[in-house]
């Protein structure tokens, strides 16, 4: 591939996918500045590794994987978090129903409260609409672990969103700093 062709391909990838990548990155990290950095890093990596993209139809998935990997690498040092409080908050009536649409900012607030191990599969499930098998494959963890994290993550989401839409009694912080 000539330099001119590479430039054209990268420009096309940016034009087609930059909004998707930014939104995905934002849901993962919860910060506009970090999301922009992640998006930029993803395209820089894509530019450097463009020869790895054999099938253009898979560009979307490839780019999203780069974003997720970059995010996880950055988070590796923050892996160990306290889960007891998270589990306590996860115990809500699983059949509780939300009334009305979910507010996008409230959703991000709740995602930010989740430990990364739960947030990533939740974002992959809802944002990318990946199956539990695909999530297991992407995160390189067992299927049973994905199901458990999805279930606990959804329970936490439901509980926090119900709480935010319902009474205003304060809840303890889900993840201690």
């Amino acid at each position: 591939m000539s330099d001119g062709e590479r430039v054209g391909v990268i420009a096309e990838l940016v034009e087609q996918h930059y909004e998707l990548l930014y939104r995905f990155a934002y849901r993962l990290c919860g910060s506009a500045a970090d999301a922009e950095d992640l998006t930029q890093q993803a395209f820089l990596t894509a530019q450097a590794k463009l020869d790895q993209l054999r099938e253009p139809a898979k560009a979307r998935s490839w780019l999203l994987t780069i974003v997720r990997n970059s995010f996880l690498k950055g988070k590796r040092r923050q892996r160990f978090q306290l889960f007891e409080t998270f589990d306590q908050l996860s115990h809500v009536d699983p059949d509780s129903e939300l009334e009305g649409p979910v507010d996008a900012e409230e959703l991000q607030t709740v995602l930010d409260e989740m430990p990364e191990e739960f947030r990533t599969p939740i974002v992959l499930y809802y944002f990318q609409e990946l199956s539990y098998k695909q999530i297991a494959d992407q995160m390189e963890i067992p299927i049973g672990t994905v199901m458990s994290r999805l279930s606990r993550g959804k329970s936490f989401l439901r509980g926090r969103l119900l709480h935010r839409l319902g009474d205003d009694a304060p809840l303890p912080t889900a993840v201690d700093p």
């Binding site: 420009a11 087609q16 930059y18 970090d34 890093q41 395209f43 059949d95 129903e97 809802y126 199956s131």
Partner: protein
């Protein structure tokens, strides 16, 4: 709480099912499928869960994308290309990317600085240019762009120094060019008279995803036979060192020579001036 390595509970299996999918046919979710098939209560549970999933999925996509992000990304990519950036997927540094793109504020300041320089140049007048200025013919000027074997030499251009603006201030040809990726801080300077001041500026641009090229910008006064055209025209071509077209902005008195190495001049003209006759 169920341990992750244990067999998933019925509830966990149901939580793994995506709305409007065939997931329940998976062997891993066999128990959940049987429960839903046999029990109205589980059917209702699944329906409530799917309604919740749809609400969350809709909100998940609702993220506002910052203005100017695409331009900043393109600028960072061009910068990385020029610096031979070796970004590594295994060692990403999302918190501190190797090259920060120009922020919107910085870009605005740069554009403002260029605009101020231009106003100053106009105010002081082109009369202040030295009378004994060295002139080239248009054909000679066209060939000042670094090129090798009939192709623009991008690597050499990348190594050129930043344009110094001492002889003239750079200005885009017209407002249509604002649609190109604005990389004012990456303007390169060419000194062909050897006096240590830049005689020409080289502006690298992309338009959409189809056209990439360079503008060589020179004061029209430096060309002994400046082009008669006053805007880009793909029907008015020079051919050395690569196909190009030249024109003069009558207001700024800057001459532009446009070279395209990705796409072609006809496409560039159509993209920049879609409503032109």
């Amino acid at each position: 709480v169920n341990h992750p390595t244990d067999k998933p509970t019925l509830r966990e299996q149901l939580d793994a099912v995506r709305p409007d999918s065939d997931d329940l046919r998976d062997a891993d979710l066999h128990e959940a499928a049987r429960a839903v098939e046999a029990s109205e209560q589980w059917q209702q549970t699944l329906a409530r869960q799917e309604a919740f999933d749809r609400q969350v999925a809709a909100a998940m996509q609702a993220v506002e994308v910052p203005e100017g992000l695409q331009s900043r990304l393109m600028a960072a990519l061009v910068d990385a290309r020029h610096q031979g950036d070796e970004s590594d997927v295994d060692t990403p540094q999302p918190a501190e990317p190797p090259q920060k793109p120009p922020t919107r504020r910085r870009t605005i300041l740069q554009v403002a600085a260029v605009a101020a320089s231009l106003l100053l140049a106009i105010a002081t007048g082109w009369l202040l240019l030295p009378r004994d200025v060295v002139q080239l013919t248009l054909e000679e000027t066209r060939q000042q762009i670094p090129a090798t074997d009939g192709a623009i030499d991008a690597a050499t251009i990348a190594r050129l120094p930043a344009f110094d603006e001492r002889n003239f201030a750079f200005e885009l040809p017209d407002p249509a060019w604002e649609r190109t990726s604005l990389m004012v801080d990456r303007l390169k300077g060419l000194d062909w008279t050897g006096d240590g001041r830049h005689d020409g500026a080289i502006y690298e641009f992309t338009v959409g995803r189809r056209v990439h090229g360079y503008l060589l910008v020179v004061p029209a006064s430096r060309i002994s036979d400046p082009p008669a055209s006053t805007r880009l025209s793909a029907s008015n071509l020079g051919y050395l060192p690569v196909p190009n077209t030249a024109w003069v902005n009558p207001t700024t008195k800057l001459a532009y020579i446009c070279y395209v190495d990705q796409g072609d001049l006809q496409t560039l003209q159509r993209l920049l001036y879609p409503h032109a006759a």
